[in-house]
């Protein structure tokens, strides 16, 4: 029996679906930086499943390791029982990621989604401190379950909760009012505001359990915190005895160059959340890294059925071995990031009629356009040209580039060319000149 795939989805899937509306094609296969529809038509993927496919689709060596594991009847699901796959992943993560960076953390498997990791991070911060409130930042995005949503800035997503979201305190992110002295700008140091509110017994800000931050706000508009800001926020956490939680779900796993997106700042978060590209293969997996002194859970105090999805640990281990045994991958990502940055800058320079500013770091880049409708329109035109590219920001005003990190220079350039063409077409359609 053959069915009309798209019609089937429209008939039977909830109207909550979203990306299918931006990219209305039925995909069947994927390899490297490309997605393919049923006719074999290739789409260059500058979205990478929201940074889940940093190592590309169906990476041959990960694929091979996974298939071998399955063919050998390797355990698939065991909750948190011990398995060889789990132990080897833990060992590898420790050896290749944590130890070389002088990081001492325990790994918690909170359930295989980013929001699960954030929920555990919030829980442990509250347990450690005995306090309730958590400070998050303007335009933060941490997930869609109620705990994570309460520290998320987006009004539309918050309203979806249907109940008041409490125990969060929102504060201005780095540069929210324009660049301050930390970034070489004229504004008052952004961190001062936070410091003053915490110091002052009359401010109405109750003593928080933690601060949660994203070094780069992927959903919030590719806002990138400066290193000094991160350091000063960490200093506040020490000064006021709060935990520092870094949500590195979208920006981690090498997206900005280094494995963690905050490495350059030299900060030592108390809790780190990692997910998206951690399995390397698109399989659901999330981990919460907790400093040993904060690892004060009771057994089973947080759990989740799929916290023991072993195939994801098989590919995760393989990906770590392939890309994080030395610093080649990091350097290459940084190099490609500059290639992308230069390409985007050139486009801006060449098209003064569509002013915008560069955003992001490493291979996590984009353009915030002054004409807010432009980004979405470019995305549409790019899709016609077989490039998948998304937008972000509170008004979807930022064109966001998230190509697989393994994308070739050639494909990066090809994508940049399509972006330029699409910008021209989009500007024309919108009557911008």
């Amino acid at each position: 029996m053959t069915i009309d795939y798209m019609q089937t989805i429209e008939d039977h899937e909830s109207i909550v679906r979203s990306y299918v509306r931006s990219f209305p094609t039925v995909f069947e296969k994927a390899k490297g930086s490309y997605l393919y529809d049923g006719d074999g038509k290739a789409y260059l993927d500058f979205f990478a499943g929201a940074s889940v496919m940093n190592y590309g689709h169906n990476h041959p060596e990960l694929q091979k390791a996974l298939i071998e594991y399955l063919q050998n009847d390797g355990v698939v699901h065991t909750l948190d029982m011990a398995t060889k796959a789990r132990a080897e992943f833990l060992d590898t993560y420790h050896r290749l990621i944590l130890e070389p960076r002088g990081m001492e953390y325990r790994v918690q498997f909170p359930g295989p989604t980013g929001t699960n990791a954030v929920e555990t991070a919030l829980k442990i911060a509250r347990k450690v401190t005995g306090r309730e409130d958590v400070i998050s930042f303007t335009n933060a995005f941490h997930g869609m379950t109620l705990g994570s949503l309460a520290v998320t800035g987006n009004e539309f997503k918050r309203k979806g909760a249907g109940i008041p979201l409490t125990h969060g305190q929102t504060m201005p992110y780095c540069g929210y009012f324009g660049p301050c002295e930390n970034c070489g700008g004229p504004e008052r140091n952004c961190v001062d505001y936070l410091d003053r509110m915490l110091k002052d017994g009359g401010s109405g800000v109750d003593h928080p359990a933690a601060i949660i931050l994203e070094p780069i706000q992927g959903e919030g508009g590719l806002n990138s915190a400066c290193l000094e800001w991160m350091r000063q926020v960490e200093a506040l956490c020490r000064k006021y005895d709060m935990l520092l939680i870094v949500d590195d779900i979208q920006a981690g796993n090498g997206r900005t160059g280094p494995y963690f997106s905050f490495e350059e700042a030299g900060i030592k978060p108390d809790v780190i959340t990692v997910s998206k590209s951690i399995s390397g293969f698109g399989m659901p997996l999330a981990i919460t890294l907790v400093k040993p002194e904060h690892d004060i859970w009771e057994p089973g105090e947080h759990n989740g059925t799929f916290r023991g999805f072993n195939p994801a640990m098989i590919t995760a281990k393989k990906a770590l071995e392939l890309y994080w045994s030395d610093d080649k991958f990091e350097k290459d990502t940084l190099r490609k990031g500059e290639l992308v940055r230069d390409g985007l800058q050139k486009i801006l320079d060449k098209h003064p009629e569509t002013p915008g500013s560069l955003r992001g770091r490493g291979m996590f880049r984009g353009i915030a356009f002054e004409h807010h409708e432009l980004a979405e329109k470019i995305s549409e035109h790019a899709f016609e040209r077989q490039l998948i590219i998304e937008t972000s920001g509170p008004r979807d005003e930022v064109l966001k580039l998230l190509p697989p990190l393994v994308t070739s220079d050639e494909d990066l350039k090809k994508g940049l060319d399509i972006i330029e063409e699409s910008l021209v077409a989009a500007a024309k359609e919108l009557g911008i000149r």
Copy 2:
């Protein structure tokens, strides 16, 4: 390099881990109803990953379909973009599950874990009704993220939130005070209490958005609601204009015989959550079924990165085709359930020194022991005899049998024999005679 797997886990994984403490062995392979350690030692699995492995571990045909998909570079991860795998799963679910049962629902992919499905169910109920409170029942378990935890009964797990859990109202589950007229018992009809609290403008119970219930409370102690209770609760939902949410995550997918555990009651929930065995292969997947008239989401109002894990849809579709094209599987499960029930009853009859009562339905059975420590001790002794079996209930007083539904009669009997031996050993150790 060889590592000591168990030592690695103890060194690097958070102390929150729990099942590894009950079953302290490193597993490497799994097939059918058995798990195997590195030396090939076989453990009969009466836990099935908390009912995730209803079709057995590494089911050959699912395994084959999955490997083929991977070898052909099938799309692994696409958020909610359209794929052939997604469309075929939707079509199959509709054809084999919903349509034959006269059920009209849209399928939402809320993220691949049960708690994500519960969070969306609560969100949509609040959105549809514009109200906030949700009624849940004593000993309910719905998940560990904050929204789900607020409708969960367990004190220890609730405390883990670190903040007060609000907008839930707990009410007595079927038979909480002993069997009532609905179950042929002497107590006042359990539903009367709820009705009175809802009817009375002075009761202090604000008008709820929804009632959420589990037809069988897997974590709460294998409490099984009678059919009349479910019908009367549904009637209250209609009477007071509330949504009825059925959480069928643990009891669904055929665990009690029929695909849904509430089918026999003839109720029509507004929202149904399904996860655990839905992929059939132990892969993370969860769906929320919503009646079309309640499917009033805005696009993207709820989302989640891993809501498009295609390999899980491949095995899910295959499992549906294998087991749900006709009613053979359902009948066989019911037959095996009786075999288990009779076996457990015999054990109880033979050992009057360890009184207990049977719990559950279908292949979701257990014994609630009057000596509360007995169940855990039996589990320990069973593990020494290579049987994996878990406990549940607020005091872990219930021995819970969750064998794969495909377990052979022979293996079921073997497991029941081990249970009896373990009971004798446990009673002896505890000095019960």
Copy 3:
């Protein structure tokens, strides 16, 4: 300049006003059990300002003491600075009320309204226990500020909050499902339900800080708890280490005979709230009685501008001396209460066409009519006959008698006669026969 008083009120006062709608007359004077309008028309007052005027309006000796105090330039307002009036009130309350009853409590002045007293009671219970939830009962009324409202049952009043009310847990009041063994009825002991929910770690009821109860629910429908119920609830408080708060705002100050309405039960609440008739003269005053071991406030941790309204303490002291130096007043109230009870019973007996049941204790009595509209209609007809009488209950189905305790037997009989006449008229109007 003369103004139309009623018109002025309609023009300038908020539409939130309520009693003026039931008793649409402009009052100017009051004495004893009577209110007078501008023409000197007398209204027998069976409402007593919601039990604020237990000693009658403008009691001559209280009036005299107050005027003397004012004429001598006695301090009127001093927040919580020390005054002779305050010290003498404290001494008198201790000597005449607390000491003779073997009660050891500290007096807190929380601000001069009942809801302020309830708010402090809740605060201190939370502070003492470090817990958040408070159990209250169906049809409870504790006040209109947010803390008190969260432990109030009435749906209409709760909705007025405009935000979800949290940290309360509602439980069935004595006899909510009909009389149980404690009251000699057939139903399951009401307290069992509460006990079970508290004992069970899976019930979803978090360990509460306190239970708050009214021995008689004035607003909730004159529901009167039996003594055994109060004792068993107190026992639960001890068993589960919760504070027992008794809200005696409406039922205290002798309304039921003894000074406190719970004396006969022999319970020892941890916190008691007293207001309404405490000043004896209708002046705003409220006190919170706290056992010394729970009096762990920091200075100023709760405050309120008008917590030092000295004239109210002058009349309060005088009232205590007049009525509580011996047990004559208590005995007389009990005797009058029986007179009222017998009168109401006779009315019911004589009019089987309007069935109802007696409610209340002491001089806090009423009839719950089976025809719900009857009570309000009787109140209307009574007002035409110059009797002021109110209703209560979730559907205003209870006719509530709250005459000043000093009302003469003659006036009590006169009022009862008017009630009968009004019942006849009301039944006729409603077509009941």
Copy 4:
């Protein structure tokens, strides 16, 4: 029987008492600007019961009106039934206060305390808008019941709640980071921050129901908002469809010169709370002024026993007639305010060793000392010199002058002299030179 008054208070009153600790004397009488102890020793009162006694203690004409009312058996307490006293107060308030200022408001009697008025203001704002959050400012103080406390800044008082305070959002008050362009300072316009947070759909600030502000923060440290700030905040309320609530409880009733402390700014709040000196005589009374279009209460949706304390309306009316029939009183207050300001400035100029800055407006003035301990120490020394004066601010660093507005110039100067002497003594004791 004679008792030791102070000992009695220590024995029987809760340790929560506070002002008695700062001013440890037993007062018996009061007249004009003086309080007297039992030996007739006179204390000059620069506190005025926290601005309750703006017209002085036992004002002869108010006293006379009150005594007459009582002698004539005027109604004391009637909840919200109609009385002549109530109607005349409403008429007078309308004629002398609202009408001449072009203000159209309905008067709600929410219960006789400031916090009751604030609770109703919050309720009506939530009802009108259907939204939940309310924005308040750093160092705000609005009351001690849970609703009011949630919009109060003080950490110590907030903690007293014992539960998390929700649905408030704290924002920086005028000049919180130093004077901005509105006050002629160099800082970024304070209102910009608020505007940005409200405008930005990603800020994490949910759309609020209202903004609540004090034109001068009495408890928070005598911070005085500039007129332009008030205007811009009002403009934001219009821009974002929020209600503007002005809490004029401490600063109103002429304390700053005009009747309302915000008159000069020309703003039109949607809701205004008034209490403290409204009765003129120290009697509990509070009103909430609501614009007619927002007066959408259901009858009885908010209530409170003592919302009909008629004697307070008698003196309130008299005070309005005496002081607010023309603008003499306002002008005299402004003149005296300048006298106080000049006096304080002279003290600061003469004592450069104790630097401080002037705070406040009208007769609501004070000094914020750089040595934080100085203010409290001055208060102690002043009390020894028979001057009652309080401190405020998050660290009690502000010496706060609240003399009755009727205080003679001579007494004002006498008080200023004592302040200077006390400052010298305090500085000496603290070793400041």
